[in-house]
Amino acid sequence: MNNVVFGQYYPTDSVIHRLDARIKLLAVILYIVTVFFIVDYVMYAALFLFVILVSVVAKIPLKVLLRTVRTIVFLVLITAVINLFFTKGEVLWAHWKFIKIYKEGVEHAVKLALRLILLMLFPSLLTLTTTPMELTDALESLMSPLKLIKVPVHAIALIMSIALRMIPILMEETNKIMLAQKARGADFDTGGAFKKAKAMIPVLVPLFVGAFRRADELALAMDARCYSSVANRTKYKVMKLTLKDLVASVVCLAVFSLVFLNKYLFPFDEMILSLFK
C-alpha cells in the first residue's frame, strides 16, 4: 500500500514546496502541452535536465521521483514495442521473415517512450511537493471564472477535498481492520485469486459500514455549524503570488519556449550533426 507514490506528499519544505500551487498547476499543464511539441533529442535531454534540476531544488531524492515511473513501465514498453514493429519508413535496418524494423520505427519508439516518461515525471513532482489540499484550493481558484456560468465551483472543490481527506483515513481504517481480522486468524496472503478476494470480505464490509458512518457524522457536523456552499467563504490560507512565483513562472516559460523555438525556428539536432560533417 505504501509504494503508490503518485499523489503522495513528500515533505522537505523546499522553495518548490512553498510555491503557489496555482503556478505549479499551470506550469504542469503548460509542460504537458509542451512535451507534445518536442522534436529533437537535444530537447528531450534538456527537459530531462530541467525535471532533474527542479527535483534537486525541491530536495526530492531522485530515487523517489523515479519510483513514480515504475507504475508506467509496462505501458512504456508496450507502446515502444508496438511502434518499433509497426512503423513503416524508408530506411530498413533489420529484416527477419515478416518482421521489418525501420530506422523511423526505432526513432519513433524511443521518442514515444521518452515522452511518456517525461509526461509522468513532472506532474509527479507537483504531487510530491504539493499537498492535496493546496491542489484543490488551486483548482478552485483557477476554476472560479466558471462561477459566472453557474458552475458550482466551490461545491466541486469541497467534494474533492473531502474525498482526498478521506483517502488516508480509509487506508488507516483498512489497515486496522486487516490487523484485527489477522488477529482472528485471517490469511490474506496465500491461495488463488478467488480465495484472496473472498478473504477480503471481512475487511470490506466493516470498511463500508465505517465509511457511511463517517460520512453521516461529517454531514451532521457540517450542518450543525450551518455550513453552506453558497455563502462567500473566506479562506484560512489565502493564496498570494510572491516574487518566487514570478521567478518560477519566468523560468518555466523560458524552458518551455525553447521547445517551441526548436520546433519552428532552430532544429538543434541538425545543427549539431552538421558540425560533424
Binding site: 505504501n2 513528500y10 515533505p11 522537505t12 486496522k176 481492520i177 490487523l179 484485527a180 481480522q181 489477522k182 488477529a183 482472528r184 486468524g185 485471517a186 490469511d187 470480505i201 471481512p202 475487511v203 464490509v205 466493516p206 459500514v209 465505517g210
Partner: protein
C-alpha cells in the same frame, strides 16, 4: 514464563521522512496467570508493543518468545500463535462483518481450521461467556445490536479461539460507567474461566488499580517501571513525571492520611480502602 520480550525496538516507515521510532528497547516477562495493566500516554508505544505479541507487526529488532513459539524465527507458526494469543483491538465492534452473530463469532475458530462440531460448541460457549443468550442473538445481524452488545460479540469472536493469553486494547473506551464496569467484570470472569493470562491497555487508572496485579508504565517507547499496582500508584513522582493520573482510591487514601486518618497499608482497591477505614474507625 509465558511471554518473554527482550530489547524490542521498532521504527515505523524506516528510511522515509515519515520514519518514527515507536519502541526503543523494551524487555519484560509476563507469567502465566498474570493480569498485566499497561499504562502510558498516547503515542508511548503501548499499542505497537502488544501488536508484536501476536505478530501483527513484523519483528525488526529484539526477540519475543510466546510459550514455545519463537518470533525471531523466519517463519513462526502464526496460526498457532494467533490461537494462543487473542487480541481484542480498540473499538472491536468496528470489525464485525458477517450476516449473523453466530457466523461472525465462528470466523476465528474457522480460520484455525477446527471441525464444524467443535466450532459450534465454542461459539455457543463464547457467546454465553460474554453474558449474552446464544439462542437470542445467534441469528441476528451483528449490526442491529446495541453498542455494548456489539463489543461483547466482538470479544466473543476472540474468546472462541480459546487463547491462553488475552490482550485487550482499551476495552472500555467510549462506554458509559455501567458499560465499563460490565466489561471489566467480564474480563475478570474470562481470566477465571478461559484465558488465565490477561494483558490490558487502559487509560482508566481506577480500572487498572482495581483489577491488575502487575502494572507496566510506558513512556516514549520505553518501559519506565514495572511493579504491583501498589508500587506504581504510590510512587507519586513516577506518575507525575510521566503525566499519569493517580487512581481515585489512592487519591482518597492520601488525602485522608494527610488530614490525620491512621490507615494501615497502602490501599489501591476499593475494598482495601473500605477495610482500612473500618479498621481505623473501630479502634
Amino acid at each position: 514464563m509465558s511471554i518473554e520480550v527482550k530489547d524490542l525496538s521498532y521504527v515505523y516507515s524506516p528510511g522515509t521522512p515519515y520514519a518514527a521510532a515507536a519502541l526503543n528497547g523494551i524487555s519484560i516477562s509476563i507469567n502465566e496467570g498474570d493480569y498485566l495493566g499497561i499504562i502510558g500516554k498516547t503515542g508511548s508505544g503501548k499499542s505497537t508493543f502488544i501488536q508484536h505479541l501476536n505478530a501483527l507487526i513484523k519483528l525488526q529488532n529484539g526477540s519475543i518468545k510466546v510459550f514455545d513459539i519463537d518470533l525471531t524465527q523466519k517463519k513462526p507458526d502464526l496460526k498457532r500463535l494467533r490461537g494462543t494469543v487473542g487480541m481484542v483491538m480498540q473499538y472491536p465492534e468496528y470489525q464485525l462483518f458477517d450476516e449473523t452473530v453466530e457466523k461472525d463469532v465462528a470466523y476465528g475458530p474457522k480460520n484455525l481450521g477446527l471441525s464444524d462440531e467443535e466450532i459450534k460448541g465454542r461459539v455457543r460457549e463464547a457467546i454465553e461467556l460474554v453474558g449474552l443468550s446464544y439462542e437470542e442473538v445467534k441469528d441476528r445481524s451483528p449490526f442491529e445490536l446495541s453498542g455494548g452488545q456489539k463489543r461483547r460479540i466482538a470479544i466473543a469472536g476472540v474468546i472462541a479461539m480459546r487463547p491462553r493469553v488475552l490482550i485487550l486494547d482499551e476495552p472500555t473506551a467510549g462506554l458509559d460507567p455501567r458499560g465499563k464496569k460490565d466489561i471489566m467484570s467480564l474480563v475478570k470472569r474470562l481470566k477465571e474461566t478461559s484465558s488465565p493470562t490477561i494483558i490490558i491497555i487502559s487509560h482508566d487508572m481506577d480500572a487498572v488499580a482495581e483489577n491488575c496485579d502487575k502494572v507496566a508504565l510506558f513512556s516514549e517507547g520505553l518501559i519506565k517501571a514495572v511493579g504491583t499496582p501498589r508500587e506504581i500508584f504510590y510512587n507519586a513522582r513516577l506518575l507525575e513525571e510521566n503525566e499519569m493520573d493517580v487512581p481515585s482510591v489512592v487519591k482518597i487514601a492520601n488525602e485522608m492520611k494527610k488530614r490525620g486518618a491512621v490507615l494501615d497499608g497502602e490501599p489501591v482497591k476499593r475494598e482495601e480502602l473500605i477495610d482500612a477505614v473500618r479498621r481505623w474507625r473501630s479502634e
